[in-house]
Symmetry: C2
């Protein structure tokens, strides 16, 4: 596996692959890899000839009081894992390289980036779309893979790709869960052992919603109230509990085929998210 | 010359040229072509193997009370001119194709897009950078050519290309002027014959600034006051008269090597712009 640290080096690698007729699959990450990431790498491997993974803890998607500085890192472990999976290139740019002095350009997907996670993290998705667009321009992937754990992010990226006429096809990977159902996330390492147990309530609340729908409940408000009650009973502090349309992310009053429950909950000082298709 | 109306048709054309090893030069325009545009086409021809010109009156760069609806159009004349110049493809997308229902994504170069023309046209440059980025993604040019008449626009496009790691090289073409010095612009057609005569005052004010600098004047405020006085004497209504650094566009107090005078003036109901390097 090639470890590439410069933008020009990365561009050259991609150009070389394309000139030989290879399709590039790309998985952008912030590192500290878990099985969720690895499932995305597998999707890239199945749908492209060469796989590029990036590790970059992107400062522009963190708010001023968020966890940029303490975001977990373990590059050597990540390298071993990716190399073992047959990844062809790991792109490791520096902050200074990605956002040099005088940097001024941002891309934003309006409306979609202001709701749900965007309501409590106002510049988060602007940072995500900007860095993803930059990585696309540097790596020029034929396909790119995003995880459904960050469901809103995947919807926003797809919208950006379509709106900006980008030449990349977006794949999404299903949520990978621990034995107790909690969605894999690098941020789970922030949890104390007690919090870790209580964090399963996000998944439980989604299952509850699914069960209620299965038993014929169509009223989203009623379902959300039951979810909120359950989450609070485990000491979770709710950022949002919503039932939305899977594509427009618009809030639904009544359950329909594309209904998806999405939750963001503080467990202690850690903000966790999860989501589930309800039908 | 191929006239291409669909995005997929345009992408196919470009892919075909690239697969044969040809470099593509691109000149984006809003049509109603004049000698200024044609000088940009010549630059594209000299620096690339195949030349693509787009004609698209981009709605997102016009404000609600601006001249979108009355912007001059003459596609048949434009086609003849471009075909006669040996242009390889003319891209003519529709508004609906470029901004389909549900369109949400915009790119913005902060700070630079809020000053000078951006102060009186708040969403103008956001519209310009968005459409140019879309056109770059559709046409995938190796080089693209912009005119220096829209000087701020050229600076902003260069900043976007650098910030977003785009794989295109930007060239700029010098301002082409009529006999009395007025910069060629499709909007000059709005002027009555009396206004047309008075419009030469933009150029005259720039020459005055250059002469003052030549004679040793270094105080930008004094130079700007002389320019304003001259413009007002011809009945021009000043939007801005500024002396800025050619790259940062920051306002200068004292003349330096990269000083550039930039002006925006209303002549009757027509807003005209012009600029000149002072040293």
């Amino acid at each position: 596996m090639k470890c590439i640290k410069s933008i020009s080096g990365m561009k050259n690698f991609s150009r070389m692959q394309h000139s030989q007729g290879f399709k590039i699959g790309f998985v952008p990450t912030m590192g500290y890899l878990h099985k969720g990431h690895l499932s995305l790498v597998e999707i890239a491997k199945r749908n492209a000839d060469k796989v590029v993974v990036s590790i970059f803890v992107n400062p522009t998607q963190f708010g001023p009081n968020e966890d940029l500085d303490r975001y977990p890192r373990n590059i050597n472990r990540d390298k071993k894992i990716l190399s073992g999976m047959g990844v062809d290139a790991l792109f490791l740019p520096s902050k200074k390289m990605m956002y040099p002095e005088g940097y001024l350009t941002y891309v934003e997907v309006e409306r979609l980036s202001k709701i749900l996670c965007g309501a409590s993290r106002p510049k988060h998705f602007r940072g995500v779309t900007t860095v993803v667009l930059k990585l696309f321009n540097i790596i020029e992937p034929d396909i790119a893979v995003f995880g459904e754990k960050d469901y809103q992010q995947a919807v926003i990226i797809k919208r950006m790709v379509s709106d900006l006429n980008l030449n990349v096809r977006i794949f999404t990977g299903k949520i990978v869960r621990e034995d107790d159902g909690i969605a894999m996330s690098s941020r789970n390492t922030y949890l104390s052992s007690d919090e870790r147990k209580r964090a399963a309530v996000l998944y439980k609340s989604l299952l509850l919603a699914k069960d209620l729908v299965k038993s014929g409940e169509k009223n989203c408000k009623k379902i959300k109230n039951r979810m909120k009650k359950l989450i609070k009973s485990e000491g979770g502090k709710i950022d949002y509990v919503e039932i939305v349309h899977s594509e427009s992310l618009e809030s639904l009053l009544s359950i329909e085929d594309k209904a998806r429950a999405v939750v963001a909950v503080w467990i202690g000082k850690t903000r966790l998210i999860d989501n589930m298709q309800l039908k």
